[in-house]
């Protein structure tokens, strides 16, 4: 009986509206903000499990909002790709919510919870929406709430970073909107399925493709346009920088991936190679810069720049194994990076500073945090037991089978660079020096969430077959199939 009922409940809508309602409630009742926020987080996770069962049972879902069909109405579409990202958001979101309850003091929580749930709803909507303009709206909502969250820290450099991030985000969205306008002009529709059928390689479409890619690259902070990411992620409070690195940056990558797979017309060798090149440059540049940093959070932020570079290496290869590898890297990076930022938050809270050179005897006094940092580091480096290794293995496999061995060298080089800066930090944690500074006790909740997230990053490596099977629902990566119909 229960399963019958669970089937036909419109989980898609619930997953989007729940966080919206939650954020409104948190805004209206600031005293109970913490309890309400946590409760909403858990209910979102539960509803996502319901969606998971629904999709596992009936395959890819399509839901027309308010009954109007494509040309006018907005469609919600969920397949393996978006479902996996939704689950990732839920898992990371849950961890960050629990961490945030212990991290923020009285006045900051009032601002944090409404904005965070707003951001969460924007993410869910973004992963589910099936038309280009709706993607633009979610992108904007995401950008604004993320900027507001960065500005919570209130310091001069936090505000500077927030404004810079806002300007870049708006720039990217406007580019994207102009692209949508051009596409609408030639195809007279914004729904992805219809656009995919009618699209062909006319100059305005090519221009639209270039514009939209540039816009999304801005928001994903790929190599040349990454300058806004490190200050924003480093100066934001720990849970915010965790969700920025883990989720927000991935959303625009998801849109680019979706467009690349479904919408963009002909197979794109030139643009693919260009993106791969930028990705490789990002891996090297991010790694070298991370090695150079003296502050722990800046190091982790530059590590994000490098890891994003990895994701773009899948574009020139463009086989289903490569996409799955990139997606797996995305998933394990989200878990590992959130754990790392939480660990950095603990260290900052504990010692009042996060300069790497003075990480005195942290290993002895914060064993759980250092363990979390090292486990997350194992996943970032891509060493076997972790999820990062699975992603790296799939990408290496795809690269060598496609015969383009230089991508494999970039992957291995990136792994070595990341080993360099991870062990630089872990090495310092074993120091024997006696540093004299007053010490604040770090609440257990913060340490344990960091450790659990890092453990999840490792365990996701051991249960690889299930997420990989999940990715195949709705055949998102068989782009050759629908491309052929009108290519």
């Amino acid at each position: 009986m229960l399963t019958m009922q669970v089937q036909n409940v419109p989980w898609l809508v619930i997953v989007i509206t729940l966080p919206l309602v939650g954020s409104l409630l948190c805004f209206l009742l600031p005293q109970q903000a913490k309890k309400l926020g946590l409760m909403t987080a858990f209910t979102i996770a539960a509803s996502l499990i319901g969606l998971l069962f629904q999709v596992l049972d009936q395959g890819a879902q399509r839901y027309t909002v308010g009954g109007w069909d494509a040309p006018l109405g907005i469609n919600l579409y969920v397949d393996g790709l978006s479902l996996l990202l939704l689950l990732m958001t839920a898992l990371v979101g849950l961890g960050i919510s629990v961490y945030a309850t212990a991290y923020f003091n009285r006045d900051k929580t009032v601002y944090y919870w409404p904005l965070w749930l707003l951001l969460w709803s924007a993410l869910n909507a973004l992963f589910l929406s099936a038309d280009l303009f709706n993607l633009y709206v979610c992108l904007e909502l995401l950008g604004l709430s993320a900027v507001a969250l960065v500005a919570i820290a209130g310091g001069a450099d936090a505000l500077g970073a927030a404004i810079r991030y806002l300007l870049v985000s708006l720039l990217g969205s406007l580019f994207y909107l102009l692209g949508v306008a051009l596409i609408y002009h030639s195809v007279a529709s914004v729904d992805i399925i219809i656009v995919a059928e009618r699209i062909d390689a006319t100059p305005p479409i090519l221009a639209a493709m270039g514009l939209m890619s540039a816009g999304l690259l801005f928001k994903t902070a790929l190599f040349p346009m990454h300058f806004w990411l490190p200050p924003a992620h480093a100066n934001a409070p720990a849970p915010v920088s965790a969700l920025l690195s883990a989720l927000v940056v991935k959303a625009s990558f998801y849109i680019l991936l979706r467009l690349w797979l479904d919408v963009f017309p002909l197979p794109q060798e030139v643009l693919g190679q260009f993106l791969g090149l930028l990705g490789a440059a990002a891996v090297i540049w991010g790694g070298v810069q991370a090695l150079r940093q003296t502050r722990l959070k800046m190091l982790i932020a530059y590590s994000t720049v490098a890891q994003i570079g990895y994701l773009f290496i899948a574009f020139p290869l463009a086989t289903s194994i490569a996409w799955k590898g990139a997606l797996y890297l995305l998933l394990s990076h989200a878990l590992a990076k959130s754990a790392m930022f939480m660990a950095a938050g603990n260290i900052l809270h504990f010692g009042g500073h996060d300069t790497i050179l003075k990480l005195d005897r942290v290993a002895q006094r914060l064993p759980l945090t250092v363990a979390a940092f090292s486990l997350a580091g194992v996943s970032i480096m891509g060493l076997p037991p972790s999820g990062g290794f699975i992603g790296k293995w799939l990408l290496l496999n795809a690269a060598l089978q496609a015969g383009e061995w230089w991508w494999a060298l970039v992957l291995i080089g990136g792994g070595l660079l990341s080993a360099g800066y991870i062990f630089k930090v872990v090495g310092f944690a074993f120091t024997q020096t006696e540093a004299s500074h007053e010490v604040h006790h770090v609440p257990a909740a913060m340490q344990w969430t960091a450790f659990m997230m890092a453990l999840a990053a490792i365990l996701v490596g051991l249960i690889a077959p299930w997420p990989l099977a999940l990715m195949d629902i709705g055949l998102p990566f068989e782009m050759v199939v629908n491309k052929g119909s009108n290519g």
Binding site: V147, A151, A156, D157, L159, A162, L167, L178, V180, Y184
Partner: protein, 99 residues
């Protein structure tokens, strides 16, 4: 006829882009963002004038949503700028990366 409007829209967009990048003062940057926004909206409206007489309603819907988003974004930018002025006393966006 609609073709010229689209062309001016694109021109506005490029002008706004140029201003956004060159000027350091935050107020100028926010104005530049608005100009780019209006440029895009002009292109959208111009393209809505289909060959047949009655213009196509969907771009208009998009423009309205775009305007709402642009307004809220500008409000947030101005609030942040004022806050930054309060805290750090200068409204230029610091160009050289601090060491």
């Amino acid at each position: 006829m609609a073709f010229f409007y689209a062309l001016t829209g694109v021109a506005l967009f490029t002008l706004g882009l140029y201003a956004l990048i060159i000027y350091a003062h935050l107020m100028r940057k926010i104005l530049a963002i608005n100009i780019m926004g209006s440029g895009v909206f002009l292109v959208l409206v111009a393209l809505a004038a289909r060959t047949q007489t009655v213009p196509d309603p969907v771009p208009h819907a998009m423009v309205i949503t775009g305007i709402v988003v642009a307004v809220s974004a500008t409000a947030l930018a101005l609030a942040l700028m004022l806050r930054l002025l309060e805290v750090s006393g200068c409204e230029e966006l610091a160009e050289e990366p601090k060491e």
